[in-house]
């Protein structure tokens, strides 16, 4: 996840795991099962089940970002209208400075990079296959969370 690496010294990040988007007992997608991905889970009914999936994700991709899991009352998801995936930036005073659109179609990490670049300057890379797209790898695995650049 290039944006995290580029700006982690200036900005904090927090990943929040919310209810599954494509569990096997709801809107199951073929892409979850293809090849080695095999990302198949039922919709968690308990917090423990959510914790297991969140740990599977972070371990599988050596996910470096700080991580939190939404409780079963979906408090974070409901407060931020976050499902299935969404980006926000809070400013130093705890106010919303940027509100992204609902994923997958309006989930746009480029807007986050633009916000960060305007404040802290752009970060150039020799090769930029994933620049500006936190989730550029997402649809290979159907993960709605962004994967680290090394994944």
């Amino acid at each position: 996840m290039q944006i995290y690496n580029d700006y982690k010294d200036r900005v904090d990040f927090l990943t929040i795991y919310i209810r599954e988007a494509h569990p096997t007992d709801e809107w199951r997608m073929k892409s979850n099962e293809k090849d080695k991905d095999d990302v198949c889970y039922v919709q968690p009914k308990t917090l423990e089940q959510r914790i297991v999936i969140a740990n599977d994700f972070t371990k599988r991709f050596k996910f470096p970002l700080p991580f939190g899991v939404d409780e079963m009352n979906d408090a974070a998801n409901n407060a931020y209208a976050a499902w299935p995936e969404r980006l926000y930036i809070l400013d130093e005073s705890g106010r919303i400075s940027y509100k992204g659109g609902n994923g997958p179609f309006k989930y746009d990490p480029k807007e986050v990079r633009t916000w960060l670049a305007q404040r802290y300057g752009d970060v150039k890379h020799a090769e930029t296959p994933q620049n500006g797209r936190l989730g550029s790898q997402l649809h290979k695995t159907r993960a709605t969370l962004p994967l680290p650049a090394s994944a």
């Binding site: 209810r19 809107w27 990302v39 423990e48 931020y80 809070l90 936190l134 159907r142």
Partner: protein
């Protein structure tokens, strides 16, 4: 059945079929279209938050499954990027 009623029924039927076909194309397949309508749309909301609003504080659980912390604890004088999502 009057001619007017017949045409109305046929028109509505055609619109429904076209709508479902369009949704199927967008989602990937008829099965995905049903999945989208049944499982996705009820959970997808624009939300009322807007830029300038105080960010709602919520309690979260750490990966150990036990430790609780508040989102506000992570706003420590620097901007905070929030990334919401799931594995699938």
């Amino acid at each position: 059945m009057s001619r007017w009623l017949l045409w109305t029924t046929v028109s509505i039927g055609v619109l429904l079929v076209l709508g479902f076909a369009g949704l199927s194309l967008m989602a990937g397949s008829p099965k995905d279209a049903i999945g989208m309508v049944r499982f996705a749309l009820p959970h997808m909301h624009v939300g009322t938050l807007k830029a300038g609003d105080t960010a709602p504080d919520v309690r979260l659980v750490a990966l150990d499954g036990k430790t609780r912390f508040h989102l506000r604890e992570r706003t420590s004088g620097r901007p905070l990027v929030l990334i919401f999502g799931s594995f699938t």
